[in-house]
């Protein structure tokens, strides 16, 4: 199930714990020796703050733990703490993330390497608890690095990698780690807890350098600026996001060297794609049912592969396009919606089509599936139905470009 492949077995020195995805992130905060953590309860993110509380109460972790009076303050407090040189963590879910929106927009603009966990949750209304990816995706254009994980081990490892990338002086951009509500935040799995000394080797202390807000380094942060300045400021963030791509690669290579666990291509995971006719794509925990379905379909002779996007921002467009051109057709499973978007599809499908468009080479047809909204189960038969539709697209059969799967109709 876990994507992490062990190159060199180090488990003899590492302990294994049965913990949820949220707890794995809390453990990463402890290992990263985070200085300031702010919290405000909302399901499913609140599981992280519960675990952090426990670590602090048990004396296992030393940090400023502040419960704010709402998400907006929650994100503002860590933004300021980070400007003063503190390593920070916070997070939210669904409409809580929305309530913090103004703070979320200024955080990348001020080059704050904040790490946040988004426990993905459907946006209100209706007030639902289950997973949808629209919450985290609302910041996709603002300079947040966005990554999706699909298991607790990856959640822990990615949190460490996120600190390493975000706090790199070449980047200094926030990063949100998306964990599917319930499927990842509330289910316990066996997770290898890395040794502290290795974490220390992997993750240097946060150095805010010349941007440190401190009396010994007098600077003014976030003044008013008119049209003479705004484009240049945006261009700087563009460059930082561009550099993030390289820094992510370096961080994964170092992670593999130090911890002995490899994630292969950092940006997306490929599953059984070597000989695949068609591929499905998606983000987060729906990968599990897709992989099971693929193994079943292969018994029936259908050579289906799967590409799971990890990093949504930065988006590895060239690499992805190069890989996808090998297949006869692509099916994108969107656990999100973008009403009125081109071909009325979801967000990920739009990005994938966009990635394919400028490339030289082939442009395989892309079929979009809206599926699993509000935490609805993505079943193995659902996946098989989607694969059939992708085969039809490969054969050039006419069909809607966007299809709702698992809907009562």
């Amino acid at each position: 199930m876990a994507v992490a492949t062990v190159i060199e077995d180090q488990r003899k020195t590492e302990e294994t714990a049965l913990i949820t995805g949220s707890e794995a992130i809390a453990v990463a905060c402890k290992l990263a020796d985070v200085d300031v953590i702010t919290a405000y309860p909302i399901r499913p993110y609140d599981t992280v703050m519960q675990y952090v509380c426990k670590l602090v109460a048990n004396g296992e972790m030393d940090c400023e733990f502040i419960v704010a009076e709402g998400e907006h303050s929650q994100f503002e407090i860590v933004k300021h703490a980070s400007a003063c040189g503190a390593r920070v963590f916070c997070g939210s879910s669904g409409v809580g993330w929305m309530y913090a929106m103004e703070a979320l927009t200024v955080t990348p603009a001020l080059r704050i390497p904040m790490i946040a966990m988004v426990g993905n949750r459907a946006l209100d209304d209706p007030g639902a608890f289950g997973v949808e990816h629209n919450d985290a995706l609302t910041v996709r254009d603002l300079g947040w690095q966005l990554v999706w994980v699909d298991n607790a081990q990856e959640a822990l490892d990615t949190a460490l990698i996120a600190y390493r990338v975000a706090e790199d002086r070449r980047v200094f951009l926030p990063c949100a780690i998306s964990c599917d509500g319930a499927f990842l935040t509330h289910s316990q799995a066996l997770v290898k807890i890395p040794l502290q000394e290795k974490v220390n080797e992997f993750l240097p202390p946060y150095n805010r350098g010349d941007l440190l807000l401190h009396p010994d380094n007098p600077i003014t942060v976030a003044p008013q600026g008119n049209e003479d300045w705004v484009m240049e400021i945006r261009r700087q963030n563009y460059a930082a996001m561009e550099r993030s791509y390289t820094v992510i690669k370096e961080a994964y290579a170092d992670f593999e060297r130090i911890f002995g666990r490899s994630y292969g291509n950092p940006f997306f995971e490929e599953y059984m794609t070597d000989d695949a006719d068609i591929v499905l794509m998606g983000m987060g925990t729906l990968s599990i049912s897709v992989k099971v379905a693929i193994r079943q379909m292969r018994k029936e002779g259908k050579r289906v592969g799967f590409v799971r996007m990890r990093w949504f921002r930065p988006f590895a467009a060239e690499e992805l396009a190069k890989s996808l051109q090998r297949f006869a057709a692509i099916g994108v499973i969107d656990r999100d919606y973008s009403f009125g978007s081109p071909y009325l599809g979801g967000v990920l499908a739009g990005e994938v089509r966009h990635a394919l468009y400028p490339g030289p080479g082939k442009k395989p047809p892309v079929v979009d599936f809206i599926c699993g909204l509000g935490g609805r189960e993505v079943t193995v038969p659902d996946v098989e139905k989607m694969a059939d539709a992708v085969y039809n697209a490969a054969d050039g059969k006419a069909q809607p470009l966007t299809q709702w799967i698992g809907l009562r109709e």
Partner: protein, 390 residues
């Protein structure tokens, strides 16, 4: 292509905001009576305006729609037929919140274009303040006290219609007196205002300002850095705190002069400036403490010298000073440079005393609008007197 007209109104933010927008609106409406079309707008970068900060309004008029589009395809006009300056102290230069560096008041004027200034001063004083221009231009002075008809209070002293009447005389192709009177009556339902416009039309004259006339100083400029030259994270590095001062006579070294932003001078915000009587100063520190712009330099002997690169002319120092006529606000038109009063005093105490008394006597303070009820009525005789001068 048809003909394109551009009129610029330079005014003091907030204090004259309504005056400026009423004029640029009426210009378009008057031209519309002659079948022309146009737009009226404030320079967006000047917003949010603050008290006294230089700001601009524009009226763009054209003989047809496509020509108007040519005028609208720019953020603001690159050259104008008429510049209206409704505060004569702005003739020293304009630095708004929309750009960096001091811009001459006549910067946008086309060769032969006209600068209209409302002032009590004569042409010599205005020409001395305005920077030199490569080509000749016309200067027309609308006699009167500077109108403060702003966001909070509208002092209806007919400055608006008097300027509109003057435009009809200066640029008859834009609109006739008849059209502008019609626009005035339509807009403000006031025949008296239309009469004022006609009176101003009759009295408006202009003189030619040659390239060798005016302030020879090259206005300071500021180069905007490229994106990769700028610091990241929207963080601005502070300038050093400050340094000691040198006495030009005794060569004593002491006191404290704060270092100031070299790229934003602020002084074009000023309509009046404090003059300081160093002989009566009791060194109470109140001016230095209360100045919102930290404009006071502390001299080696512990006196307070208002630095004219940093003074915005707010008048707080005068208000808090406990000594009679120790700090006095004087109309900015009285001064031709930003030199240090303390240095002048150190070099020649008697000469300084004469200079100081002259300044205080010749020009009373200015006010930004009303300070008390009935103040406007008190000013009417003086305004009448000016209005009746030829």
């Amino acid at each position: 292509m048809g003909r394109l007209f551009a009129i610029e109104i330079i005014y003091r933010g907030i204090f004259q905001k309504t005056l400026a927008s009423r004029m640029s609106r009426a210009i378009v409406l008057a031209a519309h009576h002659e079948g022309k079309m146009g737009i009226s707008f404030g320079r967006y970068g000047d917003s949010p305006e603050r008290n006294g900060i230089p700001a601009k309004n524009f009226a763009i008029v054209a003989t047809d729609e496509l020509t108007l589009q040519e005028g609208m395809a720019k953020y603001e006009p690159k050259d104008v037929d008429v510049t209206i300056c409704v505060d004569d102290t702005l003739c020293k230069g304009v630095e708004s919140w929309a750009w960096y560096g001091l811009q001459p008041v006549n910067r946008l004027l086309k060769p032969g274009g006209t600068l209209i200034v409302t002032s009590r001063e004569g042409p010599e004083a205005i020409i001395a303040m305005a920077h030199r221009k490569d080509s000749p231009y016309q200067l027309s002075i609308l006699k009167g006290t500077v109108s403060f008809s702003g966001l909070w209070v509208y002092k209806d002293d007919h400055t608006d219609v008097r300027i509109l009447g003057a435009i009809a005389k200066i640029l008859p192709d834009l609109f006739s007196l008849k059209s502008v009177q019609k626009a005035i009556v339509d807009e403000w339902k006031d025949e008296l205002k239309a009469t004022s416009a006609a009176k101003s039309y009759e009295r408006t004259t202009s003189i030619t300002v040659q390239p060798n006339q005016g302030n020879p100083e090259v206005p300071y400029k500021f180069d905007l850095p490229k994106w990769h030259e700028m610091g990241e994270g929207i963080a601005i590095r502070s300038i050093p705190a400050g340094h000691k001062m040198d006495d030009p006579v005794s060569h004593a070294h002491g006191g404290f002069q704060p270092d100031r932003n070299p790229t934003f001078k602020k002084f074009s915000t000023r309509t009046m400036r404090p003059v300081v009587n160093f002989d009566t100063c009791i060194k109470c520190t109140l001016c230095w403490l209360q100045c919102p712009d930290s404009c006071f330099d502390v001299t080696p002997e512990g006196l307070y010298d208002a630095n004219m690169e940093a003074c915005c002319g707010c008048g707080v120092c005068e208000a808090v000073c406990p000594v009679k006529e120790c700090v006095t606000m004087v109309n900015e038109t009285e001064f031709s440079d930003n030199s240090s009063q303390w240095e002048d005093w150190r070099k020649d105490k008697e000469g300084y005393k004469t200079w100081l008394e002259g300044k205080i006597k010749s020009h009373p303070e200015r006010s930004h609008g009303f300070r008390y009820r009935g103040q406007y009525e008190e000013q009417i005789p003086e305004m009448l007197e000016i209005a009746q001068q030829k």
